[in-house]
């Protein structure tokens, strides 16, 4: 933990992190990058999960929808990651002492990512039949709950900090 905190102290004192923290306009724009990426990432994940659960229109199969959004889904993740890292860098030590942040980034995000990659790889097998399989519905629900818990941990960061 000490090693991690030392890294956090070093990171938040880098020139670029200090320039974001010290600027009136830079911080909201970094937040904009993070939230724009999150909108694409989470928005497209929710759309596929709802389709797996049989919620909404059936104009596309879950596999077709997953293929359609694939590139921009991961582009959203990359944008959210870059913005998130910059936000983290501004107060790295504080974040590393926050239990909600540690649970979010140490457990829930990796679990969500593993589940998401699994769902993307398997969605074609689950939706070749005309009706959604039980496995598809369960996977959609599990992924939905995982990202819901990631968002819950994120919302709790200011409360438990």
């Amino acid at each position: 933990m000490d090693l991690l905190l030392n890294f956090g102290r070093w990171l938040q004192n880098t020139t670029w992190a200090l320039s974001i923290t010290g600027s009136d306009w830079a911080y909201p724009f970094v937040q904009l990058i993070h939230f724009s990426g999150l909108s694409l990432w989470i928005g497209t994940i929710l759309a596929v999960d709802f389709r797996l659960l049989g919620i909404g229109r059936d104009r596309q199969t879950a596999a077709q929808l997953s293929d359609s959004v694939f590139a921009w889904n991961w582009a959203g993740f990359a944008i959210a990651f870059v913005g998130g890292f910059m936000l983290f860098a501004c107060s790295a030590e504080t974040y590393l002492r926050n239990p909600a942040f540690l649970v979010k980034l140490g457990i829930l995000v990796p679990a969500g990512l593993i589940c998401h990659i699994f769902v993307q790889r398997k969605s074609r097998d689950w939706t070749t039949a005309s009706e959604l399989s039980r496995a598809a519905r369960i996977a959609g629900l599990v992924e939905l709950l995982l990202w819901l818990s990631v968002a819950a941990a994120a919302v709790l960061i200011p409360t438990v900090g």
Binding site: P28, F35, S39, I42, G43, A47, A71, A151
Partner: protein, 164 residues
């Protein structure tokens, strides 16, 4: 209007929802996730119209699949947003940046509806003229910019007023 805001702040169920830590977190969670659903799906349709996403897939199929989720997101973001607003209605109402946020969101919703209308009009029409596609692309571009503006305005409300 201020009197309505003051009355809203005293409504029993609004006070109950905002004063309990658990329910406040749940409302905030619904607000964030429905906002991501709303913006993520509409921005993806806009990107498809602009020709930078899912070019091999039919625009009509993507739009018909995603637009109901966009409006579902709008419904929940409005309901949860109303509860969050009502808890501090007077302060929100007095903040200029909150009024700008609402104006940008209303404009973005109008352009979202125009994009949906234009896509369904093009889908019905067998003759897809170049002019029609250009209009749709222009509407999609404005919609995209407005939704990015809506995110920025939402962030600025918290940054400049400490509300939300």
């Amino acid at each position: 209007m201020i009197r309505i805001c003051e009355w809203l702040e005293q409504v029993r169920w609004i006070v109950a929802l905002n004063s309990s830590a658990t329910s406040a977190v749940i409302v905030e969670l619904i607000h964030y996730l429905s906002f991501f659903l709303l913006v993520g799906t509409i921005v993806f349709v806009d990107l498809r119209i602009l020709g930078v996403a899912a070019r091999k897939q039919s625009l009509t199929a993507i739009a018909e699949q995603l637009f109901p989720l966009t409006w579902l997101g709008l419904l929940f973001v409005t309901l949860s947003g109303f509860v969050l607003f009502a808890g501090d209605a007077t302060a929100f109402y007095r903040a200029d940046v909150f009024q700008w946020k609402i104006e940008v969101i209303i404009a973005a919703v109008i352009f979202g509806l125009l994009v949906q209308w234009q896509v369904s009009r093009e889908a019905r029409s067998s003759r897809r003229s170049l002019t029609g596609r250009t209009t749709t692309k222009l509407l999609a571009l404005v919609s995209l910019v407005l939704w990015i503006g809506a995110i920025l305005a939402s962030l600025e409300v918290a940054a400049l007023t400490g509300l939300g």
